[in-house]
């Protein structure tokens, strides 16, 4: 009991004492005086309570008592409470989960020092850069504190128990320091070490240090074998450090780039260039300066400096995923709004049932503000419980997202619920509580108490109340429709992606990467012998129908491009040469992939280093460069004819169907296949094996691997996967987005259906008497059915109209996520509203049938 409470009791007791004394002075006995005084005073506890209400500082206590009152009410209505909390939890949980993704992926800094000032310098809009360009940019720009370059490096780690192909980067000495994250142990490279011959030093990621070196504290100074060369460990990066944040996201080690004489090369775009903006230079200023530099260089070296860009690192990392995340965020926002509307319905229905209780409280002296607070305390309690459950759902949801999300999403594995998400959930729950609680609170407290008391708690026929409920249903419908249309568009887009003919047959294909970097077969001439004998071994494995090898698989891996020149055509301007994707293939590759040869022949065993140079091109290339002619027998070269040496001409011996090159949904473009044996120097020290199998391809992996290891135990085998899995990976993002949107849209539709069902049931109950009279006066049950259904369908149609308008405005924003379907796809815009209207009809019919079956006698007697 607080001091103030004690004071109040003292005040009241002094009142009673004085009353007793007065009565005794008037001659009553002590017992009589006390009994009469107490009777006259009334209920002491109640007086104390209503007096306490006047103390503003007790609002917290009152809130608590309101909350307790609300909880008591919830216990009395467990069904209502469960449904409301579940609806809110779904809405809030979905929001928290998606916000976790937005927070982790879009909002949180990259984990580098001052990440907003880090930029990437790109060539041809998105691509990598030639060494000489990088050197010029670095020498001429003044806008950057520092600039460095990185290049892919995938060495084989040998000399330990577990040979392993690693993902690494070669970096200039500037790159790691400019990120502003110091190593956990050791140091970075010095510029002196960034020279050919001195570059045999390596910095390990925390993960690699733990995995391969058991977290050995004395790892610094240790020697390791990378591609049969000895490197010294000079540093270990801290846990959670990731570089690069895009493109080479699984990098586990860094070695010096040591460009050396390569620095003069204007071809061979292989570098990614990173820089840190000077603190006094804006991005716009840097872009202007950079544009001036590249314009100057374009004049000097035409064709090598087109469309160069300075892009914020964060933009580069998250730019792809942003539209998808924002769409999902929008979707979960809608789900939450629908959940709010639903709970508001339920509270409205309940508040009319409680009109009598409210009147009694008002008559006892509860002010309007007090009643509103009472109602809000209840809705806030509901919202907070919903929020708590929602947080739990979000926790599971995030775990599921991390597990099922496509691997391309940056920093997905770092996602977790944190205090920001918890705080946001709290705020959202609070706002939700106010949002869905305010309308019922205002309505309930606004009604005239005298009227309700007079009605004695009979169902109340507030027109305004019904209008609010109608509006709620309309908005729920509109929101659900927008969501469903969005999901429908994603589905159509996904189906369109699935329907793409990749040009090869993806089933029953097993793929893996064999790397000879750590073996005695690393030299090109030995490697080709190894590859050929490995291929023989694989073909001999029972269950393998055919096998082939290539430098890179379509869809997965990289897209390697080369400029080419067509025989007999005028030389194009430098830099404007046609460019094609090339694949080095061993005989059997095209057959194994089932890329059909349309004309001519495939790459065969006779295409050896000593045989005439040949090339197999795709249909697109044949039509583009030899339109109306037969491309067979024509020649191209990969050597620039304008340079002095005699070009090696390659004769087109075959034309194959267009196949997907890298982007699953990209339109066809130039692609050509070269016999590996004629270009052994163009192959790195690893190759991709593809095998077509009779049965389940994955089950043959162990047999194939052991066959290869029989030849050379030091070969590393990585990325063993089926081609179907590769293709699935390429479409994983579309599938994931579609699945999430579909889940949200389904939840939204269910909630809306429950909403319209609730409103129509309530309306039907409210009109029992009227329906009874109509039936008694001879109305047929079908007319009653029409009456009730018509009312519901009117709401549904208004909602549909609003939803279509909203969807037309909003789906445009998701255009980037769609493939092969317009954001205003007519089929979706017709089918989805029809579907939703059907659901609405079903939700109306149940209460309508119930109303039509009303017996007029009972309906009239009941009131």
């Amino acid at each position: 009991m607080s001091k103030r409470d004690r004071r109040l009791r003292e005040e009241i007791e002094s009142h009673l004492r004085m009353a007793i004394r007065d009565r005794m002075e008037r001659g009553e006995s002590a017992a009589e005086a006390e009994a009469n005084s107490r009777r006259e005073f009334g209920n002491q506890g109640l007086v104390e309570e209503v007096t306490r209400d006047m103390w503003s500082w007790t609002w917290l206590e009152q809130l608590w008592s309101d909350v307790r009152y609300g909880l008591r009410g919830m216990r009395r209505n467990p069904g209502f409470t469960a449904v409301a909390i579940l609806a809110l939890a779904l809405g809030i949980g979905a929001n928290s989960a998606i916000f976790t993704a937005v927070n982790g992926i879009l909002l949180r800094p990259l984990g580098y020092h001052d990440p907003e000032r880090l930029v990437v310098l790109l060539n041809h809009g998105t691509g990598p850069v030639a060494p000489a360009n990088f050197a010029d940019w670095k020498a001429q720009s003044r806008s950057f504190d520092n600039m460095g370059a990185a290049e892919l490096f995938g060495p084989d780690l040998t000399g330990s128990d577990r040979p392993e192909k690693l993902s690494g980067l070669r970096v200039t000495a500037d790159v790691l320091p400019l990120l502003g994250v110091p190593p956990a142990m050791g140091r970075f490279f010095t510029p002196e070490e960034d020279q050919p011959g001195r570059q045999f030093e390596v910095i390990l990621s925390y993960g690699l240090w733990q995995r391969q070196f058991g977290g050995d504290e004395n790892v610094l100074g240790r020697h390791i074998q990378l591609d049969n060369k000895t490197y010294t460990v000079i540093g270990v990066m801290p846990a959670g450090f990731q570089f690069a944040p895009f493109w080479a996201t699984h990098t586990e080690l860094w070695t010096p780039l040591a460009l050396g004489p390569r620095v003069a090369k204007r071809g061979g775009n292989s570098l990614r260039v990173f820089a840190r903006l000077r603190s006094d230079v804006t991005l716009e200023r840097a872009r202007e300066e950079f544009a001036a530099i590249t314009a100057r260089m374009e004049r000097q070296y035409p064709g090598t400096n087109r469309d160069q860009r300075v892009v914020p690192l964060k933009e580069k990392v998250v730019g792809q995923i942003r539209p998808a995340l924002l769409t999902l965020l929008c979707a979960v926002g809608f789900v939450l709004l629908i959940a709010c509307a639903n709970v508001a319905h339920m509270l409205l229905a309940r508040s009319s049932a409680r009109a009598h209780e409210v009147s009694v409280r008002a008559a006892l002296g509860a002010g309007r503000a007090r009643l509103i607070r009472q109602f809000l305390a209840e809705s806030l309690t509901l919202a907070m419980l919903g929020g708590a459950l929602g947080l739990l759902l979000a926790y599971w949801g995030v775990r599921a997202m991390v597990r099922f999300a496509p691997s391309g999403i940056p920093r997905l594995e770092t996602l977790s619920l944190d205090w920001r998400v918890a705080g946001l959930t709290l705020a959202v729950s609070f706002l939700t509580g106010i949002l869905f609680g305010l309308a019922p609170a205002l309505q309930a407290s606004g009604q005239s108490s005298a009227e309700s008391l007079k009605e004695g708690g009979r169902s109340n026929t507030g027109g305004a109340r019904q209008r609010v409920r109608g509006l709620l249903v309309i908005s729920e419908f509109a929101l659900s429709l927008i969501l469903l249309i969005g999901a429908g568009l994603m589905l159509r887009s996904f189906l369109a992606l699935q329907a793409i003919d990749p040009g090869f047959q993806q089933d029953h294909l097993l793929t893996m990467i064999l790397s000879v970097g750590g073996t005695q077969n690393a030299a090109p001439e030995r490697a080709q012998q190894f590859y050929q004998s490995a291929l023989e071994h694989v073909r001999a494995v029972p269950g393998v129908l055919s096998a082939g090898m290539t430098n890179h698989l379509p869809v997965a891996g990289d897209l390697w491009g080369l400029p080419f020149w067509v025989d007999g055509r005028p030389l194009p301007h430098p830099g404007e040469e046609p460019d094609g994707a090339f694949r080095l293939a061993l005989p059997g590759y095209l057959e194994t992939m089932k890329i059909p040869v349309v004309r001519g022949r495939s790459i065969e065993a006779r295409d050896t280093a000593t045989a005439p140079g040949v090339v197999v091109i795709n249909e697109y290339m044949a039509q583009r460069y030899w339109p109306g002619e037969d491309a067979l027998g024509k020649r191209i070269t990969l050597d620039n004819p304008s340079s002095s040496r005699v070009p090696t001409w390659l004769t087109v011996v075959g034309i194959v169907k267009n196949a997907v090159r890298y982007d699953w949904a990209a339109p066809p473009a130039e692609e050509f296949f070269l016999p590996y044996l004629q270009h052994t120097d163009a192959m790195g020290h690893y190759i991709t094996l593809v095998a077509r199998t009779k049965g389940d391809p994955a089950s043959l992996a162990p047999a194939i691997e052991s066959g290869i290891w029989q030849i050379d135990r030091n070969v590393t085998i990585s990325e063993v996967q089926t081609m179907s899995a590769v293709v699935e990976g390429a479409n994983a993002e579309a599938r994931f987005n579609m699945a999430l949107l579909a889940v949200f849209a389904t939840v939204a539709t269910l909630l809306s259906a429950v909403g319209i069902f609730g409103v129509m049931s309530y309306a039907a109950t409210r009109r029992r008497r009227e329906i009874g009279i109509r039936l008694a006066l001879g109305a047929r049950p079908t007319e009653i059915l029409q009456l009730i259904t018509g009312e519901g369908m009117l709401l549904a149609l208004c909602g549909t109209a609003a939803g279509i308008a909203g969807a037309l405005a909003l789906t445009r924003l998701m255009a980037k996520l769609l493939y092969g379907v317009s954001p205003v796809d007519p089929l979706t815009f017709i089918a989805v509203p029809l579907l939703l209207t059907t659901v609405a009809l079903a939700a109306c019919l149940v209460p309508a049938f119930r109303a039509a079956r009303t017996s007029p006698v009972t309906a009239l007697r009941q009131e």
Binding site: A19, E48, D53
Partner: protein, 118 residues
């Protein structure tokens, strides 16, 4: 639920809002405690008006919060601590305002009722 108070045939329910005026008016003649105020209203109205304690105490505390009245604890003649209310300067202004509103109401009511009778 509170017990029903005994029925007083002559009693008139206080009009909403008039209790504040009565309290302020009562305190105009000097500080009083709650019981004193209720007795003053009762005797001042010849036993017709009664301030229900369930209304009186909330009203006192509300007026105190509005700073129209102030309270202090005093020891009564028979050595008991009682809470005594007095009118503040703001309370005096409020009393004047409420009085004039009341007089307007009486006039208006009288006009209508008198007109009907004529």
């Amino acid at each position: 639920m509170p017990r029903k108070p005994p029925v007083h045939p002559n009693r008139i329910e206080l009009l909403q809002g008039t209790l504040d005026l009565l309290i302020l008016q009562t305190l105009q003649w000097g500080p009083r405690h709650g019981y004193g105020i209720s007795q003053a209203i009762r005797t001042g109205s010849s036993e017709i008006l009664r301030a229900d304690t369930g209304s009186l105490y909330p009203a006192l505390h509300r007026l105190e919060r509005a700073k129209w009245i102030a309270a202090e604890w005093k020891t009564s003649e028979n050595q008991q601590r009682v809470k005594v209310y007095r009118l503040t300067a703001a309370g005096k202004k409020q009393l004047l305002a409420e009085r004039s509103r009341w007089e307007q109401l009486v006039q208006a009511m009288g006009g209508i009722l008198g007109h009907e009778q004529a």
